[in-house]
């Protein structure tokens, strides 16, 4: 129970920070809208539903990357990471809380992005919404973990996309499959499996990322 309370307190801190500073979410919203407009001009003719679905997922992935890149920046700038690591709580709680906060930003961005997509391109079905929900879990779990790794390196923001994109390819496969297939069950199950597998790996190994 104390673990969940720790996670809640840490996640609340991030959400509160965002609410006061408004650093990440407006940037993500503006980015995803701009990407949609770019896609319109990058797709000659009248793109089919298949094509725009693919581009929707590229937009979601890159928007998520934008948010993930910011996730640990406040900790670095304010030098709060040492304090968090010294706090009397399990280290994995830091990862879980950060993932939840990032998930909240990403979901908020998508609540705007999906209707916008429907307005600009094609309607959004139930399978896409389900796939978005499942893919978000995986993106935030893995992305936050890698964000914590990238932020301590010299290359910093440059490194996160390089670390993250190869690991995100299975997410893209599952998500696009679920969005376009007639029977999305298999793809959704694959996404759920990915989420569970990588959540366990991240949860178990976060300790080593923040401590020596």
């Amino acid at each position: 129970m104390t673990y969940l309370r720790d996670v809640g307190a840490l996640a609340r801190k991030d959400l509160l920070l965002e609410l006061r500073a408004r650093d990440t979410l407006p940037a993500m919203l503006l980015f995803v809208a701009a990407v949609f407009v770019v896609f319109h001009f990058a797709l000659p003719g009248t793109p089919s539903r298949l094509e725009t679905t693919g581009f929707l997922w590229v937009a979601i992935l890159f928007t998520a990357l934008l948010g993930l890149g910011r996730a640990f920046v406040p900790e670095r700038e304010q030098r709060t990471m040492d304090g968090l690591v010294l706090a009397p709580c399990d280290r994995s709680a830091i990862w879980l809380a950060k993932s939840l906060a990032t998930l909240a930003f990403l979901v908020a961005a998508e609540i705007v992005a999906l209707p916008l997509y429907a307005l600009f391109f094609h309607h959004v079905g139930g399978a896409i919404v389900l796939a978005v929900a499942l893919a978000d879990l995986g993106i935030c779990a893995v992305g936050t973990f890698l964000g914590a790794m990238a932020v301590v390196t010299r290359a910093r923001d440059l490194l996160l996309p390089l670390l993250f994109l190869p690991l995100a390819i299975p997410i893209v496969v599952g998500a696009v499959g679920a969005s376009v297939a007639h029977a999305p069950g298999k793809y959704l199950a694959f996404l759920a499996l990915y989420d569970a597998l990588f959540a366990v790996v991240c949860w178990g190994s976060f300790e080593f990322v923040v401590s020596e």
Binding site: M149, A150, V152, T153, R154, A155, L159, L162, L163, L165, P166, L167, I169, P170, V173, G174, V176, G177, V180, A181, K186, Y187, F190, Y194, L197, F198, V201, S205, F208, V209, S211, E212
Partner: protein
């Protein structure tokens, strides 16, 4: 009983084989493999002479997997037992795996050009998987060289190397799944009948690649250790 097992283990330990013996062994094995592949193995009925690159392609791919898995095992040893040698060994394993991975892409690309007339085909699962793994492990080097030597670099590298072995089966499943919506038509290649000289040739080529990889691993480890020692000595002198 356990003491006897430990003695046998230390006598049979690969670490004790001198480098010169390993170098000679890999020369002999690779030469034998070349002889088998070009002179002993029969021509493939469908694809003729060019199919022979497969003996190398498949055995190099298996060797690369072995390197990645071994690297992850060493990474696990680093995180779990704090084995002081494990970090360097894990890095060298991944390095060798990446070199062999590049060879997989190269041989696969040549084979694709001969078979289908294109340097790259997305329908070949193994090739696509190696492209993903190649990108992943290149990022491993970016990560490692973006950190100062020390426990933090060792930890982050180890964790990322462990992610790699999780990614291999997941990516493989993903590529299989993706085929269903990327390439709806299903074509089955009736695989070559495995047996006789084909099997022997493959086994020889596989052994040659494994011995070669281990030799290269040992050479690189020796070089890196020497480098470290030299740096330590310089620090002492300064």
């Amino acid at each position: 009983m356990s003491a006897a097992a430990a003695t046998i283990g230390s006598v049979l330990s690969l670490r004790r084989i001198p480098l010169s013996v390993l170098a000679l062994a890999s020369f002999v094995f690779v030469t034998t493999a070349l002889v088998f592949v070009f002179y002993v193995a029969p021509n493939d009925a469908n694809q003729g002479f060019s199919q022979r690159i497969f003996y190398f392609h498949v055995s190099i791919a298996f060797t690369a997997y072995a390197c990645f898995v071994f690297g992850a095992w060493k990474a696990f040893r680093h995180l779990w037992k704090r084995d002081p040698r494990a970090d360097l060994e894990s890095y060298v394993c991944v390095h060798q795996g990446t070199i062999f991975g590049a060879m997989v892409l190269l041989t696969g690309s040549i084979w694709a050009k001969i078979s289908w007339g294109h340097w790259w085909v997305w329908s070949e699962d193994e090739l696509v998987l190696f492209l993903i793994l190649y990108l992943f492990y290149c990022a491993y080097f970016m990560l490692r060289f973006s950190l100062d030597p020390g426990p933090q670099r060792a930890n982050l590298s180890a964790v990322y190397a462990l992610f790699g072995v999780v990614l291999i089966p997941v990516s493989f499943a993903a590529i299989r799944l993706a085929k269903e919506f990327l390439h709806p038509r299903v074509f089955t290649l009736s695989g070559p009948r495995f047996g006789g000289w084909i099997l022997v040739t493959y086994c020889v080529a596989q052994a040659a690649m494994l011995v070669l990889a281990y030799t290269l691993y040992r050479v690189e480890i020796a070089g890196k250790r020497l480098d470290l020692r030299l740096r330590e000595l310089r620090d002492v002198m300064a």
